[in-house]
């Protein structure tokens, strides 16, 4: 049977943190607790038998989102000292109305879940079909099979969304001095002694971890999303320590990486329409190779926009210390 103690502790932690995030009086506290909330969500995914999600949440939900939030928090700090958060007006909606709406929405979501759990599970579901046809997909990890084969159109659209978010962010971005985590600091000889050895150790290890996640995604938890997020974290680290300098211009290699995943994915999908029976269906016998190729391009096409969104720049240049 399920050990309920752990579930109760986990649920209590999630609810307590969520309440602190929305209701805490100190904004910085909310932001930091949101990062903790992301980590607790990762534990929850692991508890609910979704290790792929746990990896992605720890790297993206808690890691990248946390870095973005902290950098935005710094930028939104009021210059003038008028106490707290720059004088936001009190809420216009009376608290009882807000509580009423919140309870309604909560009951609706919980009610949907409760009703679905209570139903007799259907014999034939998409998930069961995916598991039954797993051998035909070319990979052994069912989540990767769904993402890159059975429902690859979703993954293709998702990369489009990420790309569009990057483009839109470039349109409204501020100049480099104010964008991202702020003014770029050249990595100088005055930086703490341990930074350089630490980066010399972490950078190759992170690349190795990303490569492993990408490779393992075919048969175990992992894949392009997790690998891309880990690479993006490395980019954030290098940007913050001054190893990467932000620029307005996007270089040709960067442009190629940004659109590479999209172009390659679409090209293979369209070309398959001639060889196989439908668009985005892989020709028989080639599924594994094509999935690996697409995932490699996707890893880079996910990592680079995330780093650039954090950096608030159009491109990044390596900087020799």
């Amino acid at each position: 049977m399920i050990d309920w103690t752990f579930d109760l502790l986990l649920a209590g932690g999630l609810l307590g943190l969520a309440w602190q995030i929305v209701a805490s009086r100190i904004l910085f506290r909310s932001v930091v607790l949101f990062i903790v909330f992301g980590l607790l969500m990762a534990v929850t995914w692991a508890r609910l038998a979704a290790p792929d999600l746990a990896l992605a949440e720890a790297a993206i939900g808690a890691g990248i989102t946390g870095a973005l939030l902290l950098s935005a928090y710094r930028a939104l700090l009021p210059d003038r000292d008028d106490g707290g958060e720059g004088g936001s007006p009190p809420p216009a909606v009376p608290p009882w109305a807000a509580v009423g709406v919140a309870v309604l929405v909560g009951v609706l979501i919980a009610g949907i879940g409760w009703a679905v759990v209570g139903l007799e599970p259907p014999e034939q579901t998409a998930g069961r079909l995916a598991l039954a046809k797993l051998e035909a997909s070319g990979v052994e990890n069912p989540v990767t099979a769904v993402l890159l084969n059975f429902r690859s159109i979703d993954t293709l659209s998702e990369v489009v969304v990420l790309f569009v978010a990057f483009l839109a962010a470039r349109v409204v971005a501020q100049d480099l001095v104010h964008a991202g985590p702020g003014d770029w600091l050249r990595a100088s000889r005055r930086e703490p002694l341990l930074v350089q050895p630490l980066i010399a150790f972490i950078a190759p290890m992170t690349v190795l971890a990303a490569g492993y996640l990408l490779w393992a995604g075919a048969s175990q938890p992992g894949g392009a999303f997790q690998a891309g997020a880990v690479l993006a974290a490395l980019g954030v680290l290098l940007r913050l320590t001054g190893r990467l300098r932000p620029t307005e211009e996007t270089s040709l290699p960067e442009r190629l990486v940004l659109v590479g995943g999209l172009v390659l994915f679409s090209a293979i999908g369209l070309a398959s329409a001639g060889v196989a029976s439908a668009v985005l269906e892989y020709p028989p016998g080639w599924a594994y190779e094509l999935i690996l190729l697409i995932e490699t391009a996707l890893t880079l096409a996910i990592a680079l926009p995330l780093v650039l969104l954090f950096s608030g720049s159009g491109g990044l240049r390596g900087e020799v210390r």
């Binding site: 649920a11 969520a18 969500m41 038998a49 809420p91 929405v105 979501i109 998930g127 996910i302």
Partner: protein, 100 residues
């Protein structure tokens, strides 16, 4: 009560908290945080329901949520850039229609 039912209820409670924060808070960063809490509650509902079958775990909702996590960080990043630009232009960290 099964694990799926238990976590569905938790998802409902999280959604309520997220909506409450979205309505009562006016600071842009706090609203973005509240929307993220709301999004996570929907992810939790999907993953909890993937676990309702006695004999297997449904991989389709997992794939949907994995896609959703990346979409959520894209949208959050764009919202943060918008909020920063807005603050730089106006010096306000809440929207004008929220004024009394």
């Amino acid at each position: 009560m099964t694990q799926a039912a238990f976590y569905s209820l938790i998802a409902g409670a999280l959604a309520g908290i997220g909506i409450y924060g979205l309505i009562t808070q006016r600071h842009l960063l706090r609203r973005i945080l509240a929307v993220n809490v709301l999004g996570n509650s929907v992810f939790l509902l999907l993953v909890a329901l993937a676990r309702r079958h006695p004999d297997y775990v449904d991989p389709v909702p997992h794939a949907m949520v994995l896609t959703g996590i990346v979409i959520a960080v894209s949208a959050t990043a764009f919202a943060l850039v918008l909020a920063r630009r807005y603050y730089a232009e106006t010096g306000l960290n809440h929207l004008p229609e929220d004024e009394e």
